[in-house]
């Protein structure tokens, strides 16, 4: 079973990044859960969600020990980097988290300048999709095609199919960025 | 002919009928009803069947019937 923690400022789209991950897993017939921090945390401060997926029963949908942390801002990195599983992965938004970082030796750190990339491909709101794709690539459980199909299926069911081309472009960009 | 009928057992002797009767037809019995009140009585000769007692009674004591047979039976 995989556990991923998506964290950032409210409004950065981390909850959607996590939802894309969970929906891709479900699309491929796996079990998945998505659990957010909620309430006052949704309006301003930090937002985070834990996604778990796999073929076995998910007993606890809550956070335990993430295999991967996506940190979209500095406070999220500071708060959660220590919780990542031994030998785990951390992906940071290097547009916001810059300079020297205190990184655990067992961790593989990936820097993705998601906002810069989003602007380069003319998808200014696509940073979170770029990150969702980067996470899917790094965990190596689903192919690029599975990821795109799962994501597009999700947005279509929400009635947001008009963004499909843009989302696909962002996803491909993120998948190739790591 | 109209008749005036009373359910005396319901009377609580509040005297609102008595106070508003235009023809002084109402008096109170010396006997007590089951609830312990000196219940209202109507002098049928004086009564003009105007229905004001019915209007002012909070306890449903009075009824005016347009029923000659019933009158005959009384």
């Amino acid at each position: 079973m995989r556990e991923i923690l998506y964290a950032g400022f409210g409004g950065q789209g981390v909850l959607t990044s996590g939802l894309v991950m969970s929906q891709v897993a479900v699309f491929k017939g796996q079990k998945a859960t998505w659990m957010p921090s909620y309430g006052s945390a949704m309006r301003g401060g930090t937002a985070n969600c834990t996604v778990k997926y796999g073929n076995d029963t998910i007993y606890n949908p809550g956070q335990e020990e993430p295999d991967l942390l996506l940190a979209m801002n500095g406070p999220s990195y500071q708060a959660f980097a220590g919780m990542v599983k031994l030998g785990g992965i951390i992906v940071i938004n290097s547009d916001i988290i810059s300079g020297e970082l205190d990184v655990r030796e067992d961790i593989t750190l990936h820097r993705v300048a998601c906002s810069t990339l989003a602007n380069e491909i003319d998808q200014p709101r696509g940073a979170n999709i770029i990150m969702a794709a980067a996470v899917i690539k790094l965990l190596n459980d689903f192919s690029l095609e599975d990821g795109i199909h799962g994501m597009n299926d999700m947005f279509e069911k929400k009635g947001k199919q008009k963004f499909e081309a843009g989302n696909t472009k962002s996803f491909e960009c993120g998948y190739n960025a790591v | 002919m109209e008749s005036i009928n009373l359910k005396s057992e319901r009377c609580k002797q509040c005297e609102l009928c008595f106070a508003h009767c235009p023809s002084d037809a109402i008096s109170f019995s010396n006997e007590l009803n089951k609830a312990g009140f000196n219940f209202a009585c109507v002098d049928e000769e004086k009564c003009i069947r105007c229905g004001i007692c019915y209007t002012m009674c909070p306890d449903g004591v009075y009824a005016i019937a347009i029923n000659p047979q019933a009158k005959g039976e009384q």
């Binding site: 969970s22 079990k31 998945a32 998505w34 029963t57 007993y59 606890n60 335990e64 | -």
Partner: protein, 353 residues
Amino acid sequence: MADMIKGNVAIAEAAVRAGVQFYAGYPITPSTEIMEYLSGRLPELGRSFVQAESEVSGINMVMGAAACGFRALTASSGPGISLKQEGISCISDEELACVVINVVRYGNGLGTLYSSQCDYFRETRGGGNGDYRCIVLTPESIQEAVDLMAPAFELAEKYRIVTVFMTEGALGQMMEPCVLPDFIEPERHSWALNGKYTYKKIGIFDRNSMTEAVALNEKHALIKENEQRWESGHVEDADYVFVAYGLPGRSVKGAVKELRKEGHKVGFIRPITTWPFPENGFKEVNQNVKGFITVEASATGQLVDDVALTAKRVFRERNVPAWSLCCVYGVPSLKFTKDGFARIMNNELKEAY
């Protein structure tokens, strides 16, 4: 293939499919999405939704709709349910049927927004003034929650009682796939107020409380006998049996699986009804069991009281100790349960009873 769906939204849609004709309530985190969803969905189906001016008013509107024989629902959280107790007590007294959802949040008074199980005592004891109980259903997953919605109403109507659908903030806010139940079209209750004076019960005067108390006790006894629901595993040979409901109950099943692999003879009982408490589940437990351990999201330990009382009834000849692992709020991790178990084995944690 089912898609990811939010707990509160799935619960609300399940209520629609169970035939809910009327909803009234007041928004409060973390239950609000139920109300938001129904505000659009019910009118779309020609049913009624009222945003009430208060929690108090909301439950009384539910009382009115329930009295007229329709499936009526309200939802709230911690302090909101406190305000509804007057109405819940009156609905119970009038023997009307309705469902009240409590998406439990942590804390006393206004509390906080964290997920919790701290309302256990209130919900399982009736909650308001008087001598009544509510049937309390406690799902462990979104799937179980949607599957329990129609039974929640069926139980309420079968016994003319309030069913409290007690879930947790985390379950309301999380997402996972579920298969939604089919639509049902319930009939208006035969005992409903219909304007034609077919319902003869009257108010507090001219009533015989003695007779009614006897009838109420008989009803409660019948519910206890017939309606206990639980899930259990590995209890026949267990030295220690974990007891937990809701999301902690689900998490504990994972911890039991791992502890078993590590050679510990542990089992679990997961109450699905916390009232009536699943005493029958305890009768299946190994006669030589060494203890019960609750895992619960409250600071003080509440479920442990029912576990200890039930152990006393089932194991009459000896005192089986009961421990409580309290995680205050949230969902206890598998590690939390396993660490707690280790502390109990090392005599580092005193039993509650």
